[in-house]
């Protein structure tokens, strides 16, 4: 997961690097995802998200389900 100055820079990189798939998040979506994913990581009762929990996070952030679906 890489950061780019803009969508245009991400597009130029994709044309060169040809990643196996692609989803571009705004910085607000990215920070929201990172917060939802890791806010409890150091808590004693942390556990991995189930697929359903993870997909709910992706959906709440408005991420493309065709890319972000886990099952």
């Amino acid at each position: 997961m890489l950061l780019f100055r803009s969508e245009e820079h991400a597009k130029v990189w994709r044309e060169k690097a040809k990643p196996p798939a692609s989803s571009v998040l705004t910085i607000e979506q990215a920070t929201g995802l990172a917060h939802a994913w890791y806010a409890k990581k150091l808590d004693p009762d942390w556990s991995r998200f189930t697929n359903e929990e993870a997909e709910a996070i992706f959906d709440d952030l408005g991420l493309d389900p065709t890319f972000w679906r886990l099952s």
């Binding site: 950061l3 100055r5 910085i27 150091l42």
Partner: protein
């Protein structure tokens, strides 16, 4: 203590080391902190690798990334009140302030042109104005663990 209880205790020791020492501990360090034998902690680490709790170093049970924290160095470093941390990728680096409950500043570079990018993130996941900055994810989430070191 069964395996699940032992793994929880080891996980708590790892988290405590990150929070208090600012570093990801080795198997030997966790064993010393907990007053346990290295073999039993090593076995716990192996179970947690199987359970995808953390990313190991190649050919080892030692931690490479206890996400969002990485032993580093990487091109994604985050400065909080009194420490510098490394993330394995942008997603993780942006999650370090959240995991610590602190504001942090991520410094990295545009993967296309190399220009420095700086993003301030507060403990609640809010960010300063970075209208044009985007994060590119190049592997579908369902494939992340197929080759986690590539991901």
């Amino acid at each position: 203590m069964n395996d699940a209880e032992a793994d929880r205790a080891v996980r708590i020791a790892i988290a405590r080391s990150i929070q208090t020492r600012g570093k990801i501990p080795t198997i030997a360090a966790v064993a010393e902190d907990m007053g346990l034998g290295v073999a039993s902690v090593d076995a716990s680490f192996a179970r947690m690798i199987e359970g995808r709790v953390f990313i190991p170093r190649r050919d080892s049970h030692e931690i490479y990334a206890y996400d969002p924290f990485c032993v580093g160095p990487t091109d994604f470093f985050v400065t909080t009140a009194n420490r510098v941390w490394f993330g394995i990728c942008a997603w993780d680096a942006l999650g370090i302030p959240a995991a610590l409950g602190e504001t942090g500043v991520l410094e990295t570079h545009c993967a296309d042109c190399g220009e420095e990018l700086v993003v301030e993130v507060d403990a609640d996941g809010g960010t300063d104005l970075q209208t044009w900055t985007v994060m590119q994810v190049g592997v579908r989430p369902r494939d992340f663990w197929r080759d986690i070191h590539f991901t």
